[in-house]
Amino acid sequence: MSPHPSPSPPARGGVFVLDAAAIGRAVRRMAHEIVERNHGSEGVVILGLVNGGVWLAEAIGAALRDLGEDVPVGKIDVTFHRDDIGLRAVRPARSEVPVEIDDKTVVLVDDVLFTGRTVRAALDALREFGRPQAVQLAVMVDRGHRELPIRPDFVGKNLPTARDEDVTATIDGVVISK
Amino acid sequence: MSAGALAIRGGSLADGTRADVVIIDGVVAAIAENAEIPLDAAVLDASGCIVGPGLVDLHAHLREPGNEAAETVETGSRAAALGGYTAVVAMPNTTPTIDSASVVNLVRQLGERAGLVDVYPAGAITIGREGRQMAPLAEMAALGVRLFTDDGSGVQDNRLMRRALEYASALGVTLAQHCEDSSLSEGGVMHEGAWSSKLGLPGQPAEAEELMVARDIALCRRIGSPVHFLHVSTAGSVELVRRAKADGLPVTAEAAPHHFTLTDACLANYDTVFKVHPPLRTEADRTAVQQGLLDSTIDAIATDHAPHTPETKERSMLDAPPGMLGLETALALALTELSLPMPRLFAVMSSGPARIAQIAERHGELGIGRAANVCVIDPSERWEVDSRKLASKARNTPYAGRVLQGRVRHTVRNGVATVKNGQAQR
């Protein structure tokens, strides 16, 4: 696995909604839910979305290991599948999918679910690696304002927000700022 | 059109003395400050201007007959008049080649019909400029042709050049050489050096020119028949000519404006407008050509005006034809880029070339009793070269966008204004 991406510090003037301890509890709960929903972890593959979802994927992977469930964890970069490509400067990263995903259950992991466009891009990108039996979605924060018919399967915290607010979710906590 | 009386009032001569010039029936009648001007005379205002002899170009490609899409004798003559010229030597690389009495006559008639400058056809040295068989030099000389050249290429064959010089020595004519040893220059589209190496373009070494200059000097030394070197472009050529002149040989040389203003660095963006033969050389060569003009090694500025259609210049660097326009910018470039005293400027742009072309009885000097071929220059006018506004049919000037200082205000040919206030009169 690649080195852990360093979490960004809370934005100046932001408000802590969850602290590091709460994040840890949420991660453990989500790991339990994943096992429960899939009747174990057989065939489950965790893929974090580059960059924001990678830390959470790794944290969930660690929590699953604590439960005795050894699940492959990777990451997937969706730059090439974004619908705003060409409109702004981009910095694509390597995708690392550690196992074949055919007939597996892929759990996509991201930090914050907002419009749903990133998840849409990830679903497209996934096709280039194979045909999973099912795809599930885990996010630390669901802040609403969906623009596409996408809904999470595992949520750390539902957080009503205004459209113009910024939400950051790292291993150190969740922060809302203007 | 009747010449009548014409006065050029309020200007100064090349030496700085103020003088009006009065012309009656095509002949200069008076040159004096506050000269008496006939009541019926048309008057050209020359205040702030320099009044000198009409310019003479030894080297223009007027493209007619054969390539009228690029230029005609008429459009080329108009460009010449606007450039201050009253006489132009037309190069023989037309289709058909000027290598017989009939083509000489045709070009001369086209020149008379255009009526803007005196057009003097140069004849080819070899038939079809193919370098194999001598053209009928005597037949053309009998019609008054005084310059012969295969310009576009040099006469490669040593023996043929020797024979041509020997044959010409009895005719009182001058052979003019485009010095380029084709075995060394073949395929080259620019000067061979640092820039060609960087740009990945095949080059022509300086030696391709200098070897032929040296050969012709050797032949001239033996035979004594005059040789004129067209568009010398390298420091080595300038030095060879300098030494030959010091030895008293009857050699003369010309330089083109682009060789004293531009270098091979101009090709960095692969603009084919800068492709020309001989090619733009190095900065050291450019300086040497300037020095040659200053110290009289080089006798004339000659334009090598070479119009090409946009379509042909839009080919690749390998396929585009060489050559650039010159008639409308030569004087301004000389004024802007060379620090020549005015008498020397008229020496290299009028009297020198008139002597080489053997037309000095009509051109090259402004004097009482002489044919009224006059050029009036406003040395203070600054203007930007705009390729769309040139009188030439073609657009291939390398100076587009450049601001030059000094412009022709009036040109008078044989007593008639061909250009008034910067406007061609026909």
Binding site: V90 | A194, T312, S316
Partner: protein, 306 residues
């Protein structure tokens, strides 16, 4: 917004090279996916305008464009056709009227990509111009060296052969030296450019001596027409003194890379068995070509520079 072009290596500079090599790495990963195709250039059209036959380069570019989901138009103008003297501008304007985003051009004359860039609103990619530049070849060569040696900084590279007539040599000298390598040209003087004054290279004529101190031997193609033009007495003599013969290759350290832009003339510049040597990376160069060209097209057409 004016179109961006890839015309030569020099204008990329070290940062531009690094950027494209990093991007290449991403597309190498994409190329390894089950479906090696991403939708980044959907709706864009890339034209390959090849005035000189080069099936491998053209296919490499076209494959790259397709893997980015661009539409591809092929416009082949063979050198043998009667089109030699046609106005390139007319051709370009005709193509442009069809609505295009990039032109990949290959021409026997140096500078044609610059001319075309002046006549079109599309991005121009130099696919090889005369003796001048072949920037995507240089990029794939740098990428290959990086893959095998970790980087070019401080590496000694010998470029052996006809540098005078070689766009590969010109672009690789620029790229290798920009990335910190130490480049030596090895060739008979008749096959070197007329002036090397401004070139940041050393020149040597003793191949055996040079081979003992380099990390990479880059062989250039030696063409029969150089013998015909009298630049070398014979290909046989060339091979004896400047070829990486099987015998010479055995004197190389095992870790020395041998590279060649292809197509090879076995028995002339390269010994018959040299391509099979473990650190001869010629097929790897070709394999990296597609990813490099994906990176270039992606950067020009979707790099999202505002």
């Amino acid at each position: 917004m004016t179109a961006r072009h890839l015309l030569d290596i020099e204008s990329l500079g070290r940062d531009g090279l690094d950027h494209l090599l990093t991007l290449t790495d991403r597309f190498v990963e994409v190329s390894q996916r089950r479906v090696p195709k991403v939708p980044v250039l959907q709706g864009k059209t890339v034209v390959s305008l090849f005035y000189e036959d080069s099936t491998r380069t053209r296919l490499s570019f076209e494959t790259a464009a397709r893997r980015l989901s661009a539409d591809v138009m092929t416009f082949s103008v063979s050198t043998s056709s009667a089109n030699k003297g046609e106005s390139i501008r007319d051709t370009v304007e005709t193509i442009e009227a069809m609505g295009i985003d990039a032109i990949v051009v290959r021409h026997k004359a140096a500078g044609v990509p610059w001319q075309i860039a002046g006549w079109t609103g599309a991005s121009v990619v130099n696919g090889g111009d005369g003796w001048h530049q072949h920037p995507t070849q240089a990029l794939l060569d740098c990428y290959t060296i990086r893959q095998r040696l970790g980087g070019l900084e401080g590496r000694a590279i010998a470029i052996v052969g006809d540098a005078k007539h070689s766009r590969v040599a010109r672009s690789n000298v620029d790229a290798f030296t920009a990335l910190g390598a130490d480049v030596t040209l090895v060739a008979p003087p008749t096959l070197l450019p007329a002036s090397l004054d401004a070139w940041p290279v050393k020149v040597e004529h003793d191949l055996d001596a040079v081979l003992q101190r380099v990390d990479v031997v880059y062989l250039l193609r030696m063409q029969l027409e150089r013998q015909e033009a009298g630049l070398v007495p014979s290909l046989r003599e060339y091979s004896t003194f400047y070829g990486l013969t099987d015998e010479r290759a055995r004197t190389l350290r095992d870790d020395v890379l041998v590279m060649h832009p292809g197509p090879m003339n076995r028995g002339v510049e390269i010994g018959a068995t040299v391509p099979d040597r473990p650190n001869t990376v010629i097929t790897q160069q070709v394999a990296n070509g597609v990813a490099v060209r994906m990176a270039v097209l992606f950067d020009l057409l979707a790099g999202g520079v505002l």
